[in-house]
């Protein structure tokens, strides 16, 4: 972080006259190790660094990002940002004065129990070799792999108002995959942490069961080959946290993004069925639905102390007892819309400006065990691990698919079903919520490929959720 502070000081010394400026400096280091079919893939180490300069001048706002952190490079970025500020002052959608100014002093660092560097590359590859070997249990397993990723982000935001926010996020991400095939039927199963990312160090290996999960992953892939297709009909549906993550993400998170409601995303990610008049009165779901923006959950992907505009983060209810309370909008969007929001203006990297993102969006736990939820289903399907996702540009008509389904009959789990899918309409779906798992059943997960924005940005967002029960959902399978 010290080298970023040095760069910020150099920029402060050469920054042009402006009403306000900020510089967001990012240094990243990532690594990916993988063993596929017993053969180590080339291990990849990536080092990134760059600066995003934002400048407010003459009633306009502009930005410029650069990987050239020399004095000349920073000065060139400032000139380019000033030029775009001049254009925005003339042709802008809103006054630059709405842009939030930050003078906050904050620090954040991911909790890491076992540092990435505490194991050698050779030891990590040995571990992955063992995990990969455990997947090769049958000749019908036609592809299999085990991997371990690491990503550390140091970010420093410094502003002309004296703001100084230093945050370090660190992620260690293990995973397993097995592909089974028989004839023209292929089934894929993931595990070992593949869809269970959190902040942290090598302790995530044990937490995700990388060493132990291979047999289950491979056996389930094989079992799905011979399983019947998921039945079709309006059935009760229990979604495990591994699918609740996606359901929350697509049909609550995206529609509540304030920049979508303001129309910024209409050309790409889309608009929203939510309109400004709904906040404070719209019944988004059943009374069991409580959704929070919560940057304080330990280990959750987007936990932190401030967003990339420099606004300190704090927990807030977005939906309480089914009633819509506030959108996912950062300070700039709040000022444009005249609505309350949260600190969620985030950028994917040093070369992109902040926009409204989900950060951590969680469905709060209820008071039922998973067994209790199952016991209340006469005929239904339990679905596990997202496989497919599609939703309309207003975030209403969705269709999602999972890797694995399991029939529920007369309150008891039955056999596997393959290719489970379901579809619905967001505005109706959450009103069919009839059961929410308790704190013990909640899992802290997230989505690592959330894309939106022009230019495009993909970010990590956190979602914590328990299993949930929905009544009478359109469920179906694949081609028999």
């Amino acid at each position: 972080m010290q080298h970023l502070a040095d760069t910020a000081r150099r920029f402060a010394a050469l920054a042009p006259a402006a009403d306000y400026w900020s510089i967001r400096l990012v240094a990243e280091e990532s690594e990916h190790l993988e063993v596929r079919q017993g053969v180590a893939e080339p291990c990849a180490l990536s080092l990134g660094r760059g600066a995003m300069v934002t400048l407010m001048r003459g009633g306009g706002l502009g930005y410029a990002a650069t990987s050239d952190l020399s004095d000349a490079g920073l000065a060139a970025a400032a000139r380019r940002a000033a030029a775009w500020a001049q254009a925005q002052a003339r042709l802008g959608l809103f006054s630059a004065g709405l842009y939030p100014r930050s003078s906050a002093h904050l620090e954040y660092q991911s909790r890491v129990a076992q540092p990435w560097a505490s194991m050698t590359v050779a030891d990590k590859l040995d571990l992955l070799q063992g995990a990969c070997d455990a997947l090769e249990i049958d000749e019908r397993i036609v592809d299999w792999s085990a991997w371990l990723g690491h990503w550390r982000v140091d970010q420093l935001l410094v502003t002309s108002d004296g703001g100084h926010i230093a945050q370090t996020w660190e992620y260690t991400e293990p995973g397993l995959m097995a592909v089974a095939n028989a004839g023209s039927q292929t089934q894929r199963r993931h595990g070992g942490g593949a869809d269970w990312s959190q902040q942290g160090g090598l302790e995530r290996i044990a937490a995700c069961g990388l060493r132990e999960d291979g047999l289950r992953v491979a056996e389930e892939a094989l079992a799905l080959l011979g399983a019947p297709e998921c039945p079709s009909g309006d059935l009760d549906l229990i979604l495990l946290p591994s699918q609740m993550v996606l359901q929350i993400h697509e049909s609550i998170g995206h529609p509540l993004e304030l920049d979508r409601i303001l129309g910024d995303e209409r050309n790409y990610a889309g608009t929203s069925f939510v309109t400004p008049d709904m906040f404070g009165n719209y019944m988004y779901g059943s009374g069991l639905l409580d959704v929070t923006f919560d940057p304080s959950v330990p280990g959750e992907l987007a936990s932190g102390v401030a967003d990339d505009e420099g606004t300190p983060t704090e927990r807030a209810y977005l939906i309480r007892q089914g009633i819509l309370e506030r959108p996912l909008g950062g300070a700039l969007s709040q000022a444009r819309a005249g609505l309350p929001g949260v600190a969620n203006a985030r950028a994917s990297a040093w070369d992109r400006p902040p926009i409204d993102r989900m950060a951590n969006l969680n469905l709060e736990p209820g008071d039922e065990t998973l067994a209790g939820l199952i016991s209340r289903v006469e005929r239904g399907v339990l679905m596990d691990t997202n496989r497919s996702w599609s939703i309309d540009d207003s975030r209403n008509k969705f269709q999602f698919g999972c890797e694995l389904g399991r029939l529920i009959e007369d309150g008891e789990l039955r056999g596997l079903v393959r290719n489970p899918n379901y579809r619905g309409i967001s505005a109706n779906f959450w009103r069919s919520l009839d059961g929410v798992g308790d704190l013990a059943s909640r899992e802290v997960r997230g989505v690592c490929n959330c894309g939106k924005g022009e230019p495009n940005q993909a970010v990590y967002v956190g979602h914590a959720a328990p299993p949930c029960l929905f009544r009478r959902v359109a469920v179906f399978g694949g081609e028999a």
Binding site: V39, A40, P42, C43, L45, S46, L47, G48, R49, G50, L61, Y63, A64, A65, T66, S67, D68, S70, A72, G73, A77, A81, W84, A87, Q88, L91, G92, L93, T120, V121, A122, L125, V142, V179, N181, S184, T186, R188, L262, G263, D264, N267, G270, D351, I355, R387, S390, D392, D393, S394, Q399, G401, N419, N421, I425, P455, N456, A458, G478, E479
Partner: protein, 439 residues
């Protein structure tokens, strides 16, 4: 960064190699302006100056990869990459020998610079905003230089550079009622922009009519090239790469096994001769002009990148295993007659957010979006509220395909994840006797 600067940096690195080490250096850079628009005004405007270097260090049968961002100052950049080289060298003894290591041992040189004539971005935006007066225009302007380079200690020296603009936008009436348009290329023509705006205004006049609400069911449909692209994008997602085929993961498995067929009019190929992407791979191989993927409805060849090529013993023919320059052969329907041939049904301007609902049967779900109209008597008569479809490509591009248009559109990607993209596709429109709407 100029090619001379890049090659000088690579030479300096190669001079630091030890023993029998081999080094490949790949450079990607862009100088871009990005301007977001909403309600016909600038929402967010800025610029990105980016250079990133990728290294592959090889010693015998071992290899490790690395990457870093570069600034532009030769001295500082050299210090950064020498440090990275040192870290890679420390790792090399820790990795096992790689049976699938595969790189070109035949050095070559080449330089491709595409001619261009770009406007000043602020001036172009001023013109656009004035010309779009009265329209609720939303979208993105992206423009500037893109370049890629490859150098190796074996003597490879390749450079690919171009400058382009990509204006990707839509105009809204209300809610989700909108018409999408794009204007992208290497030579800016204000007249071409005016023509597109006029077409958008014409489509919006139909969009203003009361919408037709459809029930789930099967409808005849005409898919514009832009809509068809969403379906070919799905095929590109694992459909053509060698590894997916050899591990039975391709969604075209039943086509390959002879259990399903596509229409004889469907011929797809990777048109690398188009030249919008580099013709060299990161391992120093050169790509052929063309790879036939599906010919007359039957599966032909896979795209083969270096690693899979070594694993399965097949010659390299692509930098990656997804198409970058896909093309579909034209058909025999004059575009001007497409709606007349449709008669009654859907004219679909765009599909969106497609994903697999049953990859084993090449079945795709997705949404209609933007200008989708109900057609009667060969004329668009009303907009259609967005609908979900769920259908197998074995039907849409198989027994339900009536034909393809004679004319094709070159569609330049507006994707900017990880940097401005240069992918493109050349596609006709498609007339389909039945698209299944489900919601």
């Amino acid at each position: 960064m100029s090619p001379a600067e890049f090659f000088a940096l690579a030479d300096a690195l190669c001079a630091r190699l030890k023993g029998n080490e081999v080094l490949f250096c790949g450079l990607d850079g862009e100088d871009s302006d990005f301007v977001r628009l909403n309600q016909g005004r600038i929402r967010q405007a800025g610029a990105v100056h980016s250079r990133s270097l990728g290294l592959t260090l090889i010693d015998g049968a071992r290899q490790v990869e690395g990457g870093c961002d570069l600034g532009g100052d030769p001295g500082q950049d050299l210090a950064i990459v020498v440090d990275l080289l040192g870290r890679l060298r420390e790792r090399l003894p820790q990795v096992p020998e790689d049976p699938y290591l595969n790189y070109s041992t035949e050095p070559g040189t080449g330089e491709h610079r595409a001619a261009s004539d770009l406007p000043d971005p602020a001036g172009a935006l001023t013109g656009l905003i004035e010309a779009a007066e009265g329209l609720d225009l939303v979208g993105i302007w992206a423009s500037g230089d893109l370049y890629s380079g490859l150098a190796s200690s074996l003597g490879h020296r390749y450079w690919h550079q171009g400058a382009s603009f990509n204006l990707d936008w839509s105009c809204y009436l209300s809610g989700d009622k909108a018409v999408k348009a794009a204007y992208a290329g290497t030579h800016w023509d204000p007249g071409a922009l005016d023509a597109r705006l006029a077409e958008v205004r014409r489509s919006l006049s139909v969009m203003a009519r009361p919408p037709k609400v459809l029930s789930p069911g099967r409808y005849r449909a005409y898919l514009t090239p832009q809509a068809l692209k969403e379906l070919t994008d799905m095929l590109s997602w694992g459909g053509f790469d060698l590894k997916s085929h050899r591990t039975h993961q391709t969604p075209l498995l039943r086509l390959v096994r002879g259990e399903r067929t596509m229409h004889p009019a469907v011929s797809l190929y990777e048109d690398q001769a188009r030249g919008l992407n580099p013709r060299f791979t990161g391992e120093g191989f050169l790509t052929p002009d063309r790879v036939d993927l599906i010919a007359a409805g039957a599966y032909r060849d896979c795209l083969v990148e270096a690693r899979s090529g070594k694993e399965y013993g097949v010659p390299v023919n692509a930098a990656g295993e997804s198409p970058e320059s896909l093309a579909m052969d034209p058909g025999d329907i004059p575009r001007a007659e497409a709606l007349a041939r449709l008669g009654e049904g859907l004219a679909i301007g765009n599909l969106w957010y497609c994903n697999w609902s049953d990859p084993n049967d090449c079945r795709v779900t997705g949404m209609t979006r933007f200008a989708t109209f109900w057609v009667e008597g060969g004329e668009p008569v009303a907009p259609v509220a967005v609908m979900r479809f769920d259908d197998s490509l074995y039907q849409l591009l198989g027994d339900r395909l009536e034909g393809l248009t004679q004319e094709r559109d070159l569609l330049l990607s507006a994707d900017t994840y990880g940097g401005r993209g240069s992918d493109s596709c050349l596609l006709p429109g498609a007339l389909v006797d039945g698209l299944t709407l489900t919601l």
